[in-house]
Amino acid sequence: MHELLEGSQAVARAVGLCHPDVVCAYPISPQTHIVEALSGMVRTGKLVNCDYINVESEFAAMSVAIGASAAGGRVYTATASQGLLYMAEAVYNASGLGLPIVMTVANRTIGAPINIWNDQSDSLSQRDSGWLQLFAIDNQEAVDLHIIAYRLAEEISIPIMVCMDGFVLTHATDVVDMPTQEQVDAFLPSFTPRESLDIDNPRSIGMMAGPDIFTETKYLSHRAMLGAIDRLEEVSGEFEAIFGRRTGRPVRVLGAANGSDSVPGRHGQIAVIAMGSVLGTLQAIQPVLRASGVDIHLIGLGAFRPFPSRALAAAIGQASRVVVFDRAIQVGIGGVLSGAVRRAMKGSPAPLHSVAAGLGGRPITEDSLAAIVRQAHAGDLSDLTFMDLRDDVIEKVS
């Protein structure tokens, strides 16, 4: 049913439809509305058989999530920014222990300087944590991805971050087709843990692994992460069969002239690659750019982990140039996403341009995006650009 909902409320309801056994979280903007709504659902009896656990920090939130998941529960938490950094040690443990926790990251930058606004520095800082990271374009995808995340995480025993741009999506009110309980129940079986802590059948998890087997655990994690690419693609197809829309594809071509979402780029096209809500604004300018002779081949990444290198290279195809809109940078190197794209493009002759856009909540306007793509089309764009950089501020410091 199509409803008008704030993104956070919609996500809270989607999580509720997945019937978590435990929700634990520590509030931090811009994630707070989600867990507030879930706590309200538990308190008023709309979400039954669920323990909402107040904790004293994000570190505790992830630690409780680990404990509850190890005991066989379906677990949810959410965080952002410094909160994610504060829980980082436990984040690695959750994936290392193979616990299928689902966590929303309401993407927000990382300080200092302190800044509460959106970019994707937080989850991308955890790119080596062993978690999957799925990125939502809009609030419909944010809703759908949580349902997909539980299904996939529990199948492959890897925790998943569902990443949605903070404020831009979490606080936006949009029309969302809310899944029904029947649909979710048909798609998401109840959780049967691979192994769990049980007082009647005592065992330990998380034992020390010495040099004799540590390499093997990392190799197995690597293999499982690679396998997750194909499984995500399949689960996305199964999702479509029940819900009638294709959410969760790791790589998607948006707004292709023939309507296909997997058509490869052609010679003369500018491949534009991004993750998250900026893809919506890029879709909005696509017709105008095309009408003015700039053939933009827009590729949306739905997953940063696993990184779908092969599908991405196929989607780029023979495009003449690649522009990556980066929502997080590696200081002194360049964009986080563009670094990964460059690796996926190994052997391709197409120049790659990294554009750091919308850092710390700088509004991403249609005009600025279009100007960048036009510059690329004219062969006039540098390898690394900070979009809308304010010279007046730089001059004062230099």
Partner: protein, 224 residues
């Protein structure tokens, strides 16, 4: 696409207003989007909300830079900033002020010049009679409905009922109705303001405790 920017101050219900406006548009068959702009969300600080109506799916996520309509919830903003910045030519504005439309044009030269495109109303005075506090968001939506015809008064009432109950809902709906009528009655009177506000109304106002948090206005970024 029809784009509306709502200007107000923290505590006046800017975010609530942009959501209610989206809901009213949605009820009227539009695809809609409401995005609050998050700045320093302290009580009294200027706050902006964005609402889009469209016949087709809305993709863009950029803030609204060239609105088709502007709603000003706080009279003091007129002299503190230019709330009409970027307003499209032929655009509309509904302003909470006792000043006449032409007086507003003198204060703020970017206000809509087209006769009939700028409505002013003493919304604080109206709302105070029905809610006891100057929380003018629903009243301004009523005025916007009368001004532009983009939404109906009924859809404003429905959007209020979706969020609020009891005396808070009825007080907001009554305010929206009075505001709607004010704009209708003053159409074409570009030099007429409301120096004395409105006559006292014997309304059953909610108590302070009955006013929901969302209406009194809470800092959106309370736990950064």
């Amino acid at each position: 696409m029809f784009q509306i920017v709502i200007h107000g101050r923290g505590g006046q219900g800017v975010v609530t207003a942009s959501e209610m406006l989206a809901r009213a548009g949605f009820a009227g068959g539009f695809q809609v989007q409401a995005i609050p702009s998050f700045g320093s969300e302290r009580t009294g600080a200027p706050v902006v909300g964005y609402t889009r109506f469209s016949e087709s799916k809305i993709f863009t996520r950029e803030p609204i830079l060239t609105p088709d309509a502007v709603i000003v919830l706080d009279p003091t903003l007129l002299r503190a900033m230019n709330p009409f910045h970027g307003l499209a030519s032929g655009g509309w504005a509904a302003v909470n002020t006792r000043e006449s439309p032409n007086e507003v044009r003198r204060i703020s030269p970017d206000a809509p010049p087209t006769p009939g495109h700028l409505a002013t109303l003493p919304a604080d005075d109206i709302v105070r009679e029905y809610l006891g506090r100057p929380i003018p968001s629903a009243a301004l939506l009523g005025a916007f409905a009368a001004l532009t015809g983009k939404i109906t008064l009924q859809s404003v009432a429905d959007a209020v009922t979706h969020l609020f109950k009891g005396k808070v809902a009825s007080g907001n709906i009554a305010s929206a109705e009075v505001a709607y009528k004010w704009v209708e009655d003053h159409r074409g009177q570009e030099d007429v303001g409301a120096p004395n506000g409105i006559a006292h109304v014997d309304a059953d106002r909610p108590t302070e405790a009955e006013l929901p948090h969302a209406l009194i206005g809470s800092p959106e970024v309370s736990n950064a």
